[in-house]
């Protein structure tokens, strides 16, 4: 039994009762939040795994073409071909609020209006594999950004779930039992005080009676 170190007074009792109500309410709310977060997290993380698998597969294919291009062309040629990129991609980061977790939303923006405008080189002196690799990369990009979005969301939600669960457990197993025990302790202490003051009054009454009227208590209750 964990009793807090406070004075057993009626005021403290009232305060504690209020605190217990708040703690119970907070516990319920946090538990609901944790459950909902967990539900969303599970579906998100499944999506994350699937998406990662496809992206990794596609990247592997693109990388194979890139490796082929690298082996056919000389380093200098490859460097010149890709030195000045055609596209400049930026992302608009928006925040979405899911159960007070701010998860990012990426909105892809290209510099040129035509996003298929990806080849920064002429086709005459480059390997065909390079074209395929570049095309593949540009095709994967949307999936990759989606993956980044989801994976980051998963990480943020995971840490939020962890801290929420800690708070739920702290309330459930420490705070609330402590409040309950202390309230019980104070109630008992107050009852005890009341009983002791009642007996004291009875004793005093008895003493006064016997002094004034020589009244003798027939039961002998107060004689001892």
């Amino acid at each position: 039994m964990a009793v807090m170190n406070i004075n057993p007074t009626r005021m403290e009792l009232n305060n504690l009762k209020k605190k217990l109500v708040t703690a119970r309410r907070g516990h319920k709310l946090l538990k609901d939040k944790c459950d909902e977060l967990m539900r969303q997290f599970m579906s998100l993380v499944k999506e994350n795994k699937d998406l990662r698998r496809t992206v990794e597969q596609k990247l592997k294919e693109a990388n194979q073409h890139m490796a082929l291009a690298g082996s056919v062309m000389s380093d200098e040629e490859l460097n010149t071909a890709l030195m000045v990129p055609m596209q400049q991609m930026t992302v608009d980061v928006k925040e979405k609020n899911v159960m007070s977790v701010k998860i990012p939303k990426f909105d892809i923006k290209y510099r040129t209006s035509d996003e298929s405008d990806i080849y920064p080189y002429g086709f005459a002196y480059t390997s065909g594999d390079l074209d395929i690799a570049v095309k593949d990369f540009s095709d994967i990009l949307r999936d990759m950004m989606k993956l980044a979005e989801i994976e980051k969301s998963c990480q943020l939600m995971a840490s939020e779930i962890e801290s929420t669960r800690r708070r739920v457990n702290a309330l459930e197993y420490t705070m609330i039992p402590q409040y309950e025990d202390t309230i019980r302790y104070i109630t008992m202490k107050l009852d005890e005080n009341e009983r002791s003051s009642t007996t004291r009054l009875m004793k005093v009454k008895d003493m006064m009676l016997s002094e004034k009227h020589n009244y003798d208590d027939p039961s002998g209750f107060m004689q001892s």
Partner: protein
Amino acid sequence: MSSKVGAIGDKDSVFGFKSIGLDVVFANTPEEIQKTIREMADDDYAVIFITEKAASLAESEIDKYRFKPSPAIIPIPGITGNTGEGMKNVSLSVEKAVGSDILKDK
């Protein structure tokens, strides 16, 4: 707010991303990788793609940003193949949230 997207890794693995408009930095040693990550994070990059090989060399640096809102550091397989580093990251999130990895593939 418009942010940039970066890629870090060995030259063969990330050179291709340059053509599609990512900011590509070649880094091979742990020091280079860590420094690049730090610079990109300070420079308001929203997403940093990093090869799994490079990621394994700079884990401590990546861990710093793992639970921050930005940047999102995403490991991708490099030209030498898939090391499973990226999947491990997903499992790590699950483990943190649930307590154990309940979605493990057999």
